[in-house]
Protein backbone atom coordinates (compact mmCIF):
# COMPACT_ATOMS: atom_id res chain seq x y z
CA UNK A 1 0.00 0.00 0.00
CA UNK A 2 1.37 3.40 -0.96
CA UNK A 3 1.53 5.63 2.09
CA UNK A 4 -0.82 8.57 1.98
CA UNK A 5 0.66 11.98 2.58
CA UNK A 6 1.40 12.32 6.29
CA UNK A 7 -0.11 15.79 6.49
CA UNK A 8 -3.41 14.63 5.02
CA UNK A 9 -3.59 11.70 7.44
CA UNK A 10 -2.76 14.03 10.30
CA UNK A 11 -5.47 16.50 9.33
CA UNK A 12 -8.01 13.71 8.93
CA UNK A 13 -7.13 12.39 12.39
CA UNK A 14 -7.39 15.86 13.90
CA UNK A 15 -10.81 16.42 12.32
CA UNK A 16 -12.01 13.02 13.54
CA UNK A 17 -10.72 13.76 17.04
CA UNK A 18 -12.46 17.15 17.20
CA UNK A 19 -15.79 15.73 16.00
CA UNK A 20 -15.65 12.85 18.47
CA UNK A 21 -14.66 15.16 21.31
CA UNK A 22 -17.61 17.42 20.57
CA UNK A 23 -19.96 14.44 20.41
CA UNK A 24 -18.47 13.12 23.63
CA UNK A 25 -19.07 16.47 25.32
CA UNK A 26 -22.73 16.39 24.29
CA UNK A 27 -23.73 12.78 24.86
CA UNK A 28 -24.00 10.86 28.09
CA UNK A 29 -26.46 9.90 30.80
CA UNK A 30 -27.33 13.59 30.92
CA UNK A 31 -27.61 14.96 27.35
CA UNK A 32 -26.19 18.45 26.98
CA UNK A 33 -27.23 20.69 24.10
CA UNK A 34 -24.92 22.87 22.01
CA UNK A 35 -26.76 25.91 23.35
CA UNK A 36 -25.97 24.87 26.91
CA UNK A 37 -22.30 24.34 26.00
CA UNK A 38 -22.22 27.80 24.44
CA UNK A 39 -23.93 29.37 27.46
CA UNK A 40 -21.53 27.63 29.82
CA UNK A 41 -18.54 29.14 27.99
CA UNK A 42 -20.17 32.55 27.85
CA UNK A 43 -20.81 32.46 31.59
CA UNK A 44 -17.25 31.35 32.19
CA UNK A 45 -15.79 34.16 30.07
CA UNK A 46 -18.04 36.80 31.63
CA UNK A 47 -17.25 35.47 35.08
CA UNK A 48 -20.94 35.03 35.94
CA UNK A 49 -22.04 32.47 38.44
CA UNK A 50 -23.54 29.49 36.67
CA UNK A 51 -26.97 28.50 37.84
CA UNK A 52 -28.08 25.97 35.23
CA UNK A 53 -27.27 22.41 36.40
CA UNK A 54 -26.49 21.14 32.89
CA UNK A 55 -23.97 23.92 32.36
CA UNK A 56 -22.27 23.04 35.62
CA UNK A 57 -22.27 19.36 34.68
CA UNK A 58 -20.61 20.28 31.40
CA UNK A 59 -17.91 22.46 32.95
CA UNK A 60 -17.14 20.42 36.06
CA UNK A 61 -17.60 16.84 34.91
CA UNK A 62 -17.92 16.41 31.17
CA UNK A 63 -15.27 18.81 29.86
CA UNK A 64 -12.40 17.71 32.15
CA UNK A 65 -13.33 14.14 31.34
CA UNK A 66 -13.20 14.60 27.57
CA UNK A 67 -9.91 16.52 27.76
CA UNK A 68 -8.47 13.90 30.13
CA UNK A 69 -9.34 11.21 27.56
CA UNK A 70 -7.52 13.15 24.84
CA UNK A 71 -4.31 13.63 26.81
CA UNK A 72 -4.18 10.20 28.41
CA UNK A 73 -4.86 8.59 25.01
CA UNK A 74 -2.03 10.60 23.49
CA UNK A 75 0.33 9.71 26.35
CA UNK A 76 -0.40 5.98 26.14
CA UNK A 77 -0.01 5.88 22.34
CA UNK A 78 3.24 7.87 22.33
CA UNK A 79 4.49 5.61 25.13
CA UNK A 80 3.72 2.68 22.83
CA UNK A 81 5.55 4.22 19.86
CA UNK A 82 8.60 4.96 22.03
CA UNK A 83 8.90 1.49 23.54
CA UNK A 84 8.30 -0.25 20.23
CA UNK A 85 10.97 1.86 18.55
CA UNK A 86 13.40 1.36 21.40
CA UNK A 87 13.10 -2.41 21.48
CA UNK A 88 12.66 -2.60 17.72
CA UNK A 89 9.71 -4.85 18.30
CA UNK A 90 6.10 -4.22 17.38
CA UNK A 91 4.52 -6.16 20.21
CA UNK A 92 6.02 -4.26 23.12
CA UNK A 93 3.89 -1.77 24.98
CA UNK A 94 4.20 -0.01 28.33
CA UNK A 95 1.84 -2.55 29.88
CA UNK A 96 4.03 -5.46 28.87
CA UNK A 97 7.29 -4.23 30.31
CA UNK A 98 5.85 -3.62 33.75
CA UNK A 99 5.38 0.15 33.64
CA UNK A 100 1.59 0.15 34.11
CA UNK A 101 1.42 -2.54 36.77
CA UNK A 102 4.29 -0.92 38.65
CA UNK A 103 2.49 2.42 38.52
CA UNK A 104 -0.69 0.70 39.68
CA UNK A 105 1.17 -0.77 42.63
CA UNK A 106 2.73 2.58 43.53
CA UNK A 107 -0.66 4.25 43.49
CA UNK A 108 -2.34 1.45 45.47
CA UNK A 109 0.45 1.69 48.03
CA UNK A 110 -0.29 5.39 48.33
CA UNK A 111 -4.05 4.75 48.74
CA UNK A 112 -3.51 2.25 51.53
CA UNK A 113 -0.39 3.40 53.35
CA UNK A 114 -0.19 7.03 52.22
CA UNK A 115 -1.15 8.36 55.63
CA UNK A 116 1.54 6.24 57.30
CA UNK A 117 4.37 7.67 55.22
CA UNK A 118 3.35 11.15 56.20
CA UNK A 119 4.83 12.64 53.04
CA UNK A 120 2.53 14.91 51.16
CA UNK A 121 3.08 16.84 47.96
CA UNK A 122 -0.56 17.73 47.46
CA UNK A 123 -2.03 16.83 44.10
CA UNK A 124 1.36 15.54 42.98
CA UNK A 125 1.65 12.80 45.63
CA UNK A 126 -0.32 10.21 43.70
CA UNK A 127 1.48 10.67 40.34
CA UNK A 128 4.86 10.68 42.10
CA UNK A 129 4.02 7.42 43.89
CA UNK A 130 2.90 5.94 40.56
CA UNK A 131 6.11 7.12 38.84
CA UNK A 132 8.27 5.51 41.50
CA UNK A 133 6.34 2.25 41.18
CA UNK A 134 6.50 2.35 37.38
CA UNK A 135 10.23 3.05 37.41
CA UNK A 136 11.00 0.25 39.86
CA UNK A 137 8.99 -2.29 37.84
CA UNK A 138 10.45 -1.23 34.47
CA UNK A 139 14.01 -1.30 35.80
CA UNK A 140 13.38 -4.76 37.27
CA UNK A 141 12.12 -6.06 33.93
CA UNK A 142 15.09 -4.60 32.02
CA UNK A 143 17.54 -5.94 34.59
CA UNK A 144 16.05 -9.45 34.51
CA UNK A 145 15.96 -9.45 30.72
CA UNK A 146 19.66 -8.71 30.45
CA UNK A 147 21.36 -11.89 29.35
CA UNK A 148 24.68 -12.84 30.96
CA UNK A 149 26.19 -14.41 27.87
CA UNK A 150 25.71 -11.66 25.39
CA UNK A 151 24.66 -8.11 25.83
CA UNK A 152 21.81 -8.31 23.38
CA UNK A 153 18.43 -8.03 25.04
CA UNK A 154 16.45 -10.89 23.66
CA UNK A 155 12.87 -9.86 23.07
CA UNK A 156 11.61 -13.21 24.32
CA UNK A 157 13.40 -12.79 27.61
CA UNK A 158 12.12 -9.22 27.82
CA UNK A 159 8.51 -10.30 27.41
CA UNK A 160 8.89 -13.21 29.81
CA UNK A 161 10.45 -11.00 32.48
CA UNK A 162 7.60 -8.58 31.81
CA UNK A 163 5.07 -11.32 32.52
CA UNK A 164 6.81 -12.25 35.76
CA UNK A 165 7.10 -8.69 37.02
CA UNK A 166 3.53 -7.84 35.99
CA UNK A 167 2.28 -10.83 37.93
CA UNK A 168 4.33 -9.80 40.94
CA UNK A 169 3.06 -6.23 41.01
CA UNK A 170 -0.53 -7.07 40.23
CA UNK A 171 -0.62 -9.57 43.07
CA UNK A 172 0.86 -6.78 45.18
CA UNK A 173 -2.12 -4.63 44.21
CA UNK A 174 -4.42 -7.56 45.03
CA UNK A 175 -2.81 -7.96 48.43
CA UNK A 176 -3.14 -4.25 49.19
CA UNK A 177 -6.82 -4.21 48.29
CA UNK A 178 -7.30 -7.24 50.54
CA UNK A 179 -5.80 -5.55 53.59
CA UNK A 180 -7.29 -2.15 52.73
CA UNK A 181 -10.08 -0.60 54.72
CA UNK A 182 -13.33 -0.10 52.92
CA UNK A 183 -13.11 3.24 51.10
CA UNK A 184 -9.52 2.60 50.07
CA UNK A 185 -10.40 -0.82 48.68
CA UNK A 186 -13.14 0.79 46.64
CA UNK A 187 -10.69 3.28 45.15
CA UNK A 188 -8.26 0.51 44.22
CA UNK A 189 -10.91 -1.64 42.55
CA UNK A 190 -12.26 1.22 40.53
CA UNK A 191 -8.99 2.35 39.42
CA UNK A 192 -7.75 -1.15 38.51
CA UNK A 193 -10.25 -1.36 35.67
CA UNK A 194 -9.57 2.16 34.48
CA UNK A 195 -12.08 4.98 34.33
CA UNK A 196 -12.12 8.57 33.21
CA UNK A 197 -15.17 9.34 35.33
CA UNK A 198 -13.11 10.74 38.22
CA UNK A 199 -11.47 13.45 36.13
CA UNK A 200 -11.22 16.88 37.67
CA UNK A 201 -9.46 20.06 36.59
CA UNK A 202 -6.44 19.85 38.89
CA UNK A 203 -5.71 16.29 37.72
CA UNK A 204 -6.16 17.39 34.13
CA UNK A 205 -3.64 20.22 34.53
CA UNK A 206 -1.04 17.75 35.78
CA UNK A 207 -1.66 15.21 33.00
CA UNK A 208 -1.84 17.97 30.38
CA UNK A 209 1.45 19.58 31.35
CA UNK A 210 3.38 16.34 31.82
CA UNK A 211 2.06 14.81 28.58
CA UNK A 212 2.74 17.93 26.50
CA UNK A 213 6.30 18.29 27.75
CA UNK A 214 7.05 14.59 27.27
CA UNK A 215 5.58 14.50 23.75
CA UNK A 216 7.60 17.58 22.83
CA UNK A 217 10.80 15.85 23.99
CA UNK A 218 9.80 12.65 22.22
CA UNK A 219 9.40 14.46 18.90
CA UNK A 220 12.99 15.64 19.18
CA UNK A 221 14.13 12.03 19.49
CA UNK A 222 12.32 10.87 16.33
CA UNK A 223 15.35 11.00 14.01
CA UNK A 224 17.58 9.16 16.47
CA UNK A 225 14.90 6.49 16.90
CA UNK A 226 14.73 6.13 13.12
CA UNK A 227 18.48 5.57 13.05
CA UNK A 228 18.15 3.03 15.83
CA UNK A 229 15.90 0.94 13.59
CA UNK A 230 18.98 0.09 11.53
CA UNK A 231 20.47 -1.60 14.56
CA UNK A 232 22.41 -0.43 17.59
CA UNK A 233 25.88 -0.64 16.04
CA UNK A 234 24.77 1.09 12.88
CA UNK A 235 23.14 3.87 14.89
CA UNK A 236 26.29 4.24 16.93
CA UNK A 237 28.27 4.65 13.72
CA UNK A 238 25.88 7.46 12.79
CA UNK A 239 27.05 9.23 15.93
CA UNK A 240 24.16 8.48 18.26
CA UNK A 241 24.80 8.06 21.94
CA UNK A 242 22.86 4.83 22.44
CA UNK A 243 22.87 4.57 26.27
CA UNK A 244 21.76 8.18 26.55
CA UNK A 245 18.99 7.69 23.99
CA UNK A 246 17.74 4.59 25.76
CA UNK A 247 17.69 6.32 29.10
CA UNK A 248 15.81 9.30 27.67
CA UNK A 249 13.20 7.13 25.97
CA UNK A 250 12.63 4.99 29.05
CA UNK A 251 12.32 8.02 31.32
CA UNK A 252 9.82 9.75 29.03
CA UNK A 253 7.82 6.58 28.70
CA UNK A 254 7.70 5.85 32.42
CA UNK A 255 6.78 9.42 33.35
CA UNK A 256 3.99 9.72 30.78
CA UNK A 257 2.45 6.33 31.40
CA UNK A 258 2.77 6.46 35.19
CA UNK A 259 1.24 9.93 35.51
CA UNK A 260 -1.70 8.96 33.29
CA UNK A 261 -2.16 5.67 35.13
CA UNK A 262 -2.12 7.49 38.46
CA UNK A 263 -5.29 9.39 37.57
CA UNK A 264 -7.29 7.12 35.31
CA UNK A 265 -6.12 3.63 36.25
CA UNK A 266 -4.79 0.85 34.06
CA UNK A 267 -6.03 1.17 30.48
CA UNK A 268 -4.67 -1.48 28.16
CA UNK A 269 -4.15 -1.96 24.45
CA UNK A 270 -4.09 1.69 23.36
CA UNK A 271 -0.28 1.76 23.43
CA UNK A 272 -0.15 -1.47 21.46
CA UNK A 273 -2.82 -1.01 18.80
CA UNK A 274 -2.32 2.63 17.83
CA UNK A 275 1.33 2.48 16.68
CA UNK A 276 0.64 -0.85 14.98
CA UNK A 277 -2.23 0.51 12.99
CA UNK A 278 -0.44 3.68 11.96
CA UNK A 279 2.66 1.78 10.93
CA UNK A 280 0.49 -0.40 8.74
CA UNK A 281 -1.01 2.50 6.81
CA UNK A 282 1.85 4.99 6.89
CA UNK A 283 5.09 3.05 7.32
CA UNK A 284 7.55 3.07 10.18
CA UNK A 285 8.86 6.64 10.14
CA UNK A 286 8.96 7.71 13.79
CA UNK A 287 8.84 11.36 12.78
CA UNK A 288 5.22 10.76 11.81
CA UNK A 289 4.38 7.94 14.21
CA UNK A 290 4.99 10.08 17.28
CA UNK A 291 2.59 12.92 16.56
CA UNK A 292 0.22 10.81 14.46
CA UNK A 293 0.12 8.30 17.32
CA UNK A 294 -0.70 11.07 19.77
CA UNK A 295 -3.70 12.10 17.64
CA UNK A 296 -4.93 8.57 16.97
CA UNK A 297 -4.43 7.53 20.61
CA UNK A 298 -6.40 10.57 21.74
CA UNK A 299 -9.19 9.65 19.35
CA UNK A 300 -9.27 5.96 20.37
CA UNK A 301 -9.58 6.81 24.06
CA UNK A 302 -12.19 9.55 23.52
CA UNK A 303 -14.28 7.20 21.39
CA UNK A 304 -13.89 4.34 23.90
CA UNK A 305 -14.99 6.60 26.73
CA UNK A 306 -18.01 7.69 24.74
CA UNK A 307 -18.91 4.03 24.17
CA UNK A 308 -18.33 3.22 27.84
CA UNK A 309 -20.88 5.89 28.71
CA UNK A 310 -23.45 5.06 26.04
CA UNK A 311 -23.52 1.25 25.84
CA UNK A 312 -25.41 0.71 29.09
CA UNK A 313 -26.66 4.25 29.70
CA UNK A 314 -27.47 5.51 32.26
CA UNK A 315 -25.03 3.00 33.80
CA UNK A 316 -21.35 3.22 32.92
CA UNK A 317 -18.71 0.65 32.02
CA UNK A 318 -15.08 0.88 33.14
CA UNK A 319 -13.13 2.08 30.10
CA UNK A 320 -10.52 -0.70 30.42
CA UNK A 321 -13.22 -3.18 29.44
CA UNK A 322 -14.07 -1.21 26.30
CA UNK A 323 -10.46 -0.75 25.14
CA UNK A 324 -9.80 -4.45 25.65
CA UNK A 325 -12.97 -5.45 23.78
CA UNK A 326 -11.92 -3.29 20.84
CA UNK A 327 -8.20 -3.85 21.18
CA UNK A 328 -8.05 -7.63 21.33
CA UNK A 329 -9.77 -8.38 17.98
CA UNK A 330 -7.80 -5.62 16.24
CA UNK A 331 -4.61 -7.02 17.71
CA UNK A 332 -5.42 -10.54 16.51
CA UNK A 333 -6.20 -9.28 13.00
CA UNK A 334 -2.92 -7.36 12.97
CA UNK A 335 -1.00 -10.43 14.11
CA UNK A 336 -2.51 -12.49 11.30
CA UNK A 337 -1.57 -9.96 8.64
CA UNK A 338 2.13 -9.93 7.99
CA UNK A 339 2.13 -7.73 4.91
CA UNK A 340 3.88 -4.90 6.62
CA UNK A 341 7.32 -4.69 8.11
CA UNK A 342 8.56 -2.97 11.18
Amino acid sequence: MKPINNRITGLALLALLLCTALLSAKLGAVPISLQEIKNAFMHLINGNEIIELNERIFLQIRLPRVLMGIFVGAALAVGGVLTQALFRNPIVEPGLIGTSSGAAFGAALYFVLGATFGSNWGEWTLPIAACIGGTVATVMVLFLAQSKNDHRRGVASLLLSGIAINALFLSGVGFLSYIARDPQARSITFWNLGTLSGSYWEALYIVLSVTSICIWFSLRLAKQLNALMLGEQEAQLLGINIPQLKLMVLCLNVIMVAVSTAFVGVIGFVGLIVPHFLRMIQGADNRFLLWGGALLGAWVLTASDLLARLLLAPAELPIGIVTSLIGVPVFIILLKRTNYLF
Partner: protein
Amino acid sequence: MKNSTLLLLISLVASSCGRFGNTDEKTDSQERIVCISKQYAEIIYALGAQKEVVAVDLSSTYPPEIKALPTIGYHRALSTETILAMKPSLILHDNNIGPEHVVTQLKELQIPMKTFGNYTPTIAGTDSLIREMGHYFGKEKQADSLCVKLHKEAQEAFAHSKHYTQTPKVLIIHFGRASNIYLVMTKNSTAAKLIEWAGGEMAVDAEKGMKQLSPEVVAAANPDIILLTDFGYDRLNDGKEIDKLPGISSTKAYKNNQIYRIEEHDLVYTGPRTGENVLRIQELIHPDETH
Protein backbone atom coordinates in the same frame (compact mmCIF):
# COMPACT_ATOMS: atom_id res chain seq x y z
CA MET B 1 -8.19 -10.57 41.75
CA LYS B 2 -8.66 -8.39 38.70
CA ASN B 3 -10.67 -11.05 36.96
CA SER B 4 -12.99 -11.63 39.86
CA THR B 5 -13.63 -7.89 40.19
CA LEU B 6 -14.37 -7.74 36.50
CA LEU B 7 -16.75 -10.67 36.73
CA LEU B 8 -18.41 -9.14 39.73
CA LEU B 9 -18.94 -5.83 37.97
CA ILE B 10 -20.16 -7.37 34.74
CA SER B 11 -22.56 -9.66 36.52
CA LEU B 12 -23.79 -6.81 38.67
CA VAL B 13 -24.43 -4.66 35.64
CA ALA B 14 -25.99 -7.57 33.74
CA SER B 15 -28.19 -8.64 36.62
CA SER B 16 -29.39 -5.12 37.06
CA CYS B 17 -30.08 -4.34 33.42
CA GLY B 18 -33.75 -4.93 34.00
CA ARG B 19 -33.95 -2.30 36.68
CA PHE B 20 -31.89 0.24 34.74
CA GLY B 21 -34.55 0.01 32.04
CA ASN B 22 -37.39 0.95 34.41
CA THR B 23 -39.01 4.16 33.33
CA ASP B 24 -39.29 7.15 35.54
CA GLU B 25 -42.99 7.89 35.81
CA LYS B 26 -42.85 10.84 38.15
CA THR B 27 -42.89 14.15 36.37
CA ASP B 28 -44.56 16.75 38.50
CA SER B 29 -43.57 15.86 42.06
CA GLN B 30 -41.92 18.74 43.83
CA GLU B 31 -39.04 16.96 45.50
CA ARG B 32 -37.11 14.38 43.46
CA ILE B 33 -35.33 12.10 45.90
CA VAL B 34 -32.63 9.61 44.93
CA CYS B 35 -32.28 7.25 47.90
CA ILE B 36 -28.98 5.38 48.20
CA SER B 37 -29.62 3.38 51.36
CA LYS B 38 -31.64 0.20 51.66
CA GLN B 39 -32.49 0.99 55.28
CA TYR B 40 -33.81 4.47 54.47
CA ALA B 41 -35.71 3.14 51.46
CA GLU B 42 -37.59 0.56 53.51
CA ILE B 43 -38.48 3.12 56.18
CA ILE B 44 -39.64 5.66 53.57
CA TYR B 45 -42.01 3.07 52.10
CA ALA B 46 -43.20 1.99 55.54
CA LEU B 47 -43.95 5.62 56.36
CA GLY B 48 -45.85 5.98 53.09
CA ALA B 49 -43.54 8.78 51.96
CA GLN B 50 -42.39 7.13 48.72
CA LYS B 51 -44.20 9.62 46.46
CA GLU B 52 -41.10 11.79 46.08
CA VAL B 53 -38.59 8.99 45.54
CA VAL B 54 -37.52 8.83 41.88
CA ALA B 55 -34.70 6.28 42.05
CA VAL B 56 -32.97 3.93 44.48
CA ASP B 57 -29.72 1.95 44.57
CA LEU B 58 -29.52 -1.68 43.48
CA SER B 59 -29.44 -3.14 46.97
CA SER B 60 -32.76 -1.53 47.97
CA THR B 61 -35.08 -4.47 47.44
CA TYR B 62 -37.76 -4.10 50.10
CA PRO B 63 -40.71 -3.67 49.76
CA PRO B 64 -41.12 -5.59 46.47
CA GLU B 65 -42.77 -2.66 44.68
CA ILE B 66 -39.53 -0.71 45.05
CA LYS B 67 -38.16 -2.79 42.20
CA ALA B 68 -40.41 -0.88 39.79
CA LEU B 69 -38.35 2.28 40.36
CA PRO B 70 -35.34 3.11 38.19
CA THR B 71 -32.01 2.30 39.83
CA ILE B 72 -28.76 4.20 39.84
CA GLY B 73 -26.59 1.09 40.30
CA TYR B 74 -24.51 -0.42 43.07
CA HIS B 75 -24.04 1.96 46.00
CA ARG B 76 -20.26 1.58 46.04
CA ALA B 77 -19.73 1.88 42.30
CA LEU B 78 -21.85 4.92 41.57
CA SER B 79 -21.51 7.14 38.55
CA THR B 80 -22.20 10.85 38.82
CA GLU B 81 -24.02 11.17 35.52
CA THR B 82 -26.27 8.18 36.20
CA ILE B 83 -27.47 9.93 39.35
CA LEU B 84 -27.81 13.32 37.67
CA ALA B 85 -29.84 11.78 34.85
CA MET B 86 -32.59 11.29 37.46
CA LYS B 87 -32.61 15.08 38.01
CA PRO B 88 -32.44 14.70 41.78
CA SER B 89 -33.35 17.60 44.03
CA LEU B 90 -32.12 15.59 47.04
CA ILE B 91 -29.87 12.59 47.57
CA LEU B 92 -30.41 10.54 50.72
CA HIS B 93 -27.50 8.31 51.68
CA ASP B 94 -26.11 6.64 54.78
CA ASN B 95 -22.41 7.41 54.16
CA ASN B 96 -21.86 3.97 52.69
CA ILE B 97 -21.44 5.19 49.13
CA GLY B 98 -18.55 5.39 46.72
CA PRO B 99 -16.27 5.74 44.91
CA GLU B 100 -14.96 8.86 46.56
CA HIS B 101 -14.64 10.94 43.40
CA VAL B 102 -18.39 10.63 42.72
CA VAL B 103 -19.21 12.03 46.16
CA THR B 104 -16.76 14.90 45.55
CA GLN B 105 -18.29 15.67 42.16
CA LEU B 106 -21.83 15.68 43.58
CA LYS B 107 -20.74 18.05 46.34
CA GLU B 108 -19.06 20.36 43.83
CA LEU B 109 -22.23 20.48 41.77
CA GLN B 110 -24.05 21.48 44.96
CA ILE B 111 -26.63 18.70 44.71
CA PRO B 112 -28.33 18.67 48.14
CA MET B 113 -27.39 15.54 50.08
CA LYS B 114 -28.75 14.38 53.40
CA THR B 115 -27.84 11.74 55.93
CA PHE B 116 -30.06 11.02 58.91
CA GLY B 117 -28.59 10.52 62.39
CA ASN B 118 -26.14 7.67 62.87
CA TYR B 119 -27.92 5.40 65.35
CA THR B 120 -26.76 2.10 66.78
CA PRO B 121 -28.32 -1.05 65.33
CA THR B 122 -30.48 -1.57 68.40
CA ILE B 123 -34.23 -1.42 68.89
CA ALA B 124 -33.85 2.02 70.53
CA GLY B 125 -31.60 3.24 67.72
CA THR B 126 -34.03 2.02 65.08
CA ASP B 127 -36.85 3.74 66.94
CA SER B 128 -34.93 7.04 66.85
CA LEU B 129 -34.19 6.71 63.13
CA ILE B 130 -37.82 5.95 62.24
CA ARG B 131 -38.99 8.92 64.33
CA GLU B 132 -36.40 11.26 62.81
CA MET B 133 -37.38 10.23 59.30
CA GLY B 134 -41.08 10.42 60.18
CA HIS B 135 -40.54 13.98 61.37
CA TYR B 136 -38.59 14.88 58.24
CA PHE B 137 -41.31 13.62 55.90
CA GLY B 138 -44.13 14.98 58.07
CA LYS B 139 -45.38 11.45 58.88
CA GLU B 140 -45.04 11.47 62.68
CA LYS B 141 -48.21 9.44 63.17
CA GLN B 142 -47.09 6.61 60.91
CA ALA B 143 -43.65 6.69 62.53
CA ASP B 144 -45.26 6.31 65.91
CA SER B 145 -47.33 3.30 64.93
CA LEU B 146 -44.31 1.66 63.24
CA CYS B 147 -42.31 2.09 66.46
CA VAL B 148 -45.10 0.68 68.61
CA LYS B 149 -45.22 -2.42 66.40
CA LEU B 150 -41.43 -2.69 66.43
CA HIS B 151 -41.25 -2.62 70.23
CA LYS B 152 -44.13 -5.05 70.66
CA GLU B 153 -42.63 -7.67 68.35
CA ALA B 154 -39.13 -7.17 69.74
CA GLN B 155 -40.38 -7.65 73.32
CA GLU B 156 -42.17 -10.80 72.25
CA ALA B 157 -38.97 -12.15 70.69
CA PHE B 158 -36.87 -11.24 73.75
CA ALA B 159 -39.38 -13.06 75.95
CA HIS B 160 -39.03 -16.20 73.84
CA SER B 161 -35.27 -16.07 74.00
CA LYS B 162 -35.29 -16.12 77.81
CA HIS B 163 -36.93 -19.53 77.78
CA TYR B 164 -34.66 -21.23 75.29
CA THR B 165 -32.49 -23.94 76.82
CA GLN B 166 -29.98 -24.02 73.98
CA THR B 167 -27.97 -21.44 72.08
CA PRO B 168 -27.41 -22.81 68.57
CA LYS B 169 -24.39 -21.71 66.59
CA VAL B 170 -25.52 -20.01 63.41
CA LEU B 171 -23.46 -19.44 60.29
CA ILE B 172 -24.74 -16.89 57.81
CA ILE B 173 -23.38 -17.27 54.33
CA HIS B 174 -23.73 -14.54 51.82
CA PHE B 175 -22.92 -16.55 48.71
CA GLY B 176 -21.80 -13.83 46.40
CA ARG B 177 -22.22 -12.96 42.84
CA ALA B 178 -18.58 -13.61 42.03
CA SER B 179 -18.11 -17.26 41.25
CA ASN B 180 -17.48 -19.59 44.15
CA ILE B 181 -16.54 -17.01 46.71
CA TYR B 182 -18.59 -16.90 49.80
CA LEU B 183 -18.74 -14.28 52.45
CA VAL B 184 -19.55 -15.10 56.02
CA MET B 185 -21.23 -12.65 58.34
CA THR B 186 -19.41 -12.26 61.65
CA LYS B 187 -20.13 -11.29 65.25
CA ASN B 188 -19.47 -7.71 64.23
CA SER B 189 -22.42 -7.41 61.88
CA THR B 190 -26.01 -6.24 62.24
CA ALA B 191 -27.04 -9.80 61.44
CA ALA B 192 -25.20 -10.91 64.57
CA LYS B 193 -27.43 -8.66 66.67
CA LEU B 194 -30.54 -10.21 65.18
CA ILE B 195 -29.23 -13.74 65.79
CA GLU B 196 -28.33 -12.81 69.38
CA TRP B 197 -31.83 -11.41 69.97
CA ALA B 198 -33.26 -14.58 68.48
CA GLY B 199 -31.35 -16.63 71.04
CA GLY B 200 -28.52 -17.90 68.88
CA GLU B 201 -24.85 -17.09 68.50
CA MET B 202 -22.72 -16.44 65.47
CA ALA B 203 -20.34 -19.24 64.55
CA VAL B 204 -17.47 -17.02 63.43
CA ASP B 205 -15.82 -13.88 64.63
CA ALA B 206 -13.78 -11.32 62.73
CA GLU B 207 -12.95 -7.65 62.68
CA LYS B 208 -15.03 -6.82 59.62
CA GLY B 209 -18.79 -7.39 59.51
CA MET B 210 -18.53 -9.58 56.48
CA LYS B 211 -15.54 -11.61 55.58
CA GLN B 212 -14.25 -14.08 53.07
CA LEU B 213 -13.08 -16.83 55.35
CA SER B 214 -11.01 -19.93 54.90
CA PRO B 215 -13.27 -22.99 54.50
CA GLU B 216 -11.22 -24.60 57.26
CA VAL B 217 -12.38 -21.97 59.75
CA VAL B 218 -15.96 -22.58 58.67
CA ALA B 219 -15.58 -26.35 59.09
CA ALA B 220 -13.94 -25.87 62.50
CA ALA B 221 -16.73 -23.53 63.64
CA ASN B 222 -19.11 -26.42 62.98
CA PRO B 223 -22.40 -24.46 63.02
CA ASP B 224 -25.70 -26.06 64.07
CA ILE B 225 -27.62 -24.01 61.55
CA ILE B 226 -26.71 -22.35 58.29
CA LEU B 227 -28.67 -19.43 56.94
CA LEU B 228 -28.04 -18.75 53.28
CA THR B 229 -29.04 -15.38 51.82
CA ASP B 230 -31.58 -15.38 48.99
CA PHE B 231 -29.27 -14.86 46.01
CA GLY B 232 -26.94 -17.69 46.94
CA TYR B 233 -29.74 -20.04 47.99
CA ASP B 234 -31.50 -19.66 44.67
CA ARG B 235 -28.32 -19.98 42.73
CA LEU B 236 -27.31 -23.15 44.55
CA ASN B 237 -30.45 -24.85 43.26
CA ASP B 238 -32.61 -24.08 46.32
CA GLY B 239 -29.68 -24.75 48.60
CA LYS B 240 -29.34 -28.34 47.42
CA GLU B 241 -25.89 -27.76 46.00
CA ILE B 242 -24.53 -26.15 49.13
CA ASP B 243 -22.29 -29.16 49.77
CA LYS B 244 -20.30 -27.97 46.78
CA LEU B 245 -19.04 -25.07 48.86
CA PRO B 246 -15.87 -26.22 50.58
CA GLY B 247 -16.05 -26.88 54.31
CA ILE B 248 -19.84 -27.14 54.47
CA SER B 249 -20.51 -30.85 54.18
CA SER B 250 -18.74 -31.72 57.43
CA THR B 251 -20.84 -29.35 59.54
CA LYS B 252 -23.66 -30.38 61.88
CA ALA B 253 -26.02 -28.06 60.02
CA TYR B 254 -25.47 -29.95 56.78
CA LYS B 255 -25.78 -33.39 58.41
CA ASN B 256 -29.02 -32.44 60.19
CA ASN B 257 -30.37 -30.71 57.12
CA GLN B 258 -30.68 -27.38 58.89
CA ILE B 259 -29.93 -25.01 56.04
CA TYR B 260 -32.43 -22.27 55.37
CA ARG B 261 -33.03 -19.43 52.98
CA ILE B 262 -33.23 -15.92 54.35
CA GLU B 263 -33.76 -12.62 52.58
CA GLU B 264 -30.64 -10.50 52.68
CA HIS B 265 -32.68 -7.35 53.37
CA ASP B 266 -34.11 -8.97 56.53
CA LEU B 267 -30.64 -9.38 58.01
CA VAL B 268 -28.25 -6.61 57.08
CA TYR B 269 -29.96 -3.57 58.60
CA THR B 270 -32.54 -2.83 61.26
CA GLY B 271 -35.88 -1.31 60.40
CA PRO B 272 -39.59 -1.36 61.16
CA ARG B 273 -39.76 -5.11 60.54
CA THR B 274 -36.79 -6.05 62.73
CA GLY B 275 -38.94 -7.49 65.56
CA GLU B 276 -40.91 -9.50 63.04
CA ASN B 277 -37.69 -10.75 61.42
CA VAL B 278 -36.26 -11.86 64.76
CA LEU B 279 -39.44 -13.84 65.42
CA ARG B 280 -39.03 -15.51 62.03
CA ILE B 281 -35.37 -16.32 62.73
CA GLN B 282 -36.46 -17.92 66.00
CA GLU B 283 -38.72 -20.27 64.08
CA LEU B 284 -35.71 -21.30 62.00
CA ILE B 285 -33.07 -21.69 64.68
CA HIS B 286 -35.26 -23.01 67.52
CA PRO B 287 -37.55 -25.32 65.58
CA ASP B 288 -38.36 -27.44 68.67
CA GLU B 289 -38.89 -24.63 71.12
CA THR B 290 -40.92 -22.12 69.11
CA HIS B 291 -44.34 -21.47 70.50
